[in-house]
């Protein structure tokens, strides 16, 4: 009997490397950076990158139940979206998914301005951030990142790779620019200046 593999795939000089990369990604519990993959596979970064493209083609939506994604600064496998229903019947959605408005605002501040301190968060949101920060820390979406330079400086926080993973971001650079959100700030400013003029008069 013929000993050929069951799945008919176009043979490529990178096939062996692609199989190794697949194996590494299956074993990993967190996204693996390209450099780590190359070091583990004991091969060139460029070749591993090419092998990843091959793996990505084979493991894409509609072709496989396992999908390769570039997320949180590395590569990882996830379930395909068509399997989401089945997955949700067997597995609980990760706790990170249900975030309150306060938690989302705090996350936004830390993601855009981080590393930043709790007083800075409080200053922007105008309400105490203690409980929210503790909550996000517990969920692993933010982490401590040293202290402020001032004497007795407050602890600074940054978002974690888990944050990028939960939000499906390859890196923080994928966040939309903060300036793009600015739409009617000028209106607020004009209104405030009118009030100020009335007060001053």
């Amino acid at each position: 009997m013929d000993e050929r593999p069951l799945r008919l795939i176009t043979s490529s000089p990178l096939d062996a490397l692609a199989r190794i990369v697949e194996a590494l990604l299956v074993v990993a519990s967190a996204p693996l950076p390209l450099e780590d993959l190359a070091a583990a596979a004991d091969d060139d970064v460029e070749r591993v990158e090419a092998a990843l493209r091959l793996v990505g083609e084979r493991h894409s939506e509609g072709r496989s139940g396992i999908v390769l994604e570039h997320v949180a600064g590395g590569y990882a496998f996830r379930a395909s979206r068509e399997a989401a229903g089945a997955c949700s019947r067997l597995f609980e959605r990760p706790v990170q998914r249900s975030l309150s408005q306060a938690a989302l605002e705090t996350l936004a501040i830390v993601a855009y301005l981080g590393p930043c301190t709790r007083p800075e968060i409080t200053r922007i949101r105008g309400v105490a951030a203690e409980a929210t920060v503790a909550n996000l820390l517990e969920r692993g979406l933010i982490a401590e990142a040293g202290r402020d330079d001032a004497p007795g400086g407050a602890i600074r926080y940054r978002v974690t790779p888990l944050f990028e993973r939960v939000f499906g971001l390859a890196s923080l650079a994928e966040l939309p620019r903060l300036d793009d959100f600015d739409n009617d700030v000028e209106t607020i400013r004009e209104r405030l200046h009118v009030v100020a003029a009335q007060r001053g008069a």
Partner: protein
């Protein structure tokens, strides 16, 4: 009931209320550390306790003196709260108070804009979360790396024995042969100069050096200095690099003798 004597048992302070106020005003206690709600609770408990003991029931009407105490307490606590609030927002309050209405409006607009952007960013995150709700992935602890092994290269036991043997053998005595004295001892020159002076009374140092090597010349000079130190010779030199003249000192004019005679 006297409000000032209200006994407090807070995390940061234990004692009567008036002492706490004094310490706070003297800035010996950081008001930020004081739990004002704790003070209010202590006051309420005190009032309830007194009412129970007087009337045997918790529900009762306040007497006139109690009303006064309540009023006094309210004034005190509100002052304390205001003080605490000022302390907590010290810099910010000062910053804002110094601003002109125009500047204040600008500052407020800046802060509102910052908050508005934060809200928009949060909304974006929320929508992103909604889009990603069908993404299921594995979450686990950080993967373990294999421990770094440091393999030892194979070695010949005989080599180890040889190395140990070298260590166990006492080292050979170090030869000092190369450090042997190549010049006559100091004493030889001392004797020579003494005999010269006994005969002639004086001599020129250079004339006596003759065929001596550099090292021997140095030893000869040391011998001369030694004689000078002992007070046996007077050493004279008219100018730098001029000939060194050595004269016998008259033993009778030695310092010891002179001092004996003058005494």
């Amino acid at each position: 009931m006297r409000v000032a004597e209200l006994e407090l048992d807070l995390e940061a302070f234990e004692g009567p209320l008036d002492l706490l106020l004094t310490l706070v005003l003297k800035e010996e206690i950081d008001l930020a550390e004081i739990d004002v709600a704790g003070i209010v609770l202590a006051f309420i408990e005190e009032m309830l306790g007194r009412d129970r003991s007087e009337n045997g029931a918790a529900e009762c009407e306040l007497g006139e003196s109690d009303l006064e105490a309540c009023g006094e307490f309210l004034v005190l606590v509100s002052a304390l709260l205001e003080l605490k609030a000022r302390l907590l927002f010290d810099d910010e309050a000062a910053e804002l108070a110094e601003l002109e209405p125009e500047e204040a409006a600008e500052e407020l607009a800046r802060r509102l804009a910052a908050y508005r952007r934060t809200k928009e960013a949060a909304a974006w995150l929320a929508s992103r979360l909604e889009q990603e709700r069908d993404r299921f992935f594995r979450l686990g602890p950080a993967p373990l790396r294999p421990p770094v092994s440091r393999p030892v290269a194979p070695h010949d036991p005989a080599a180890l024995v040889a190395a140990l043997r070298v260590l166990a053998t006492p080292p050979q005595a170090v030869s000092l042969a190369h450090m042997a004295l190549r010049y006559p001892p100091l004493e030889q020159f001392v004797q020579r100069f003494r005999s010269l002076l006994a005969g002639r009374g004086r001599f020129d140092f250079e004339n006596e050096l003759g065929e001596l090597s550099r090292v021997e010349q140095a030893v000869a000079f040391l011998a001369l200095l030694e004689l000078g130190r002992l007070g046996e010779v007077a050493i004279k030199q008219a100018a730098p690099f001029a000939p060194i003249r050595v004269e016998r000192r008259d033993t009778e004019r030695s310092p010891a003798w002179t001092s004996a005679r003058s005494a």
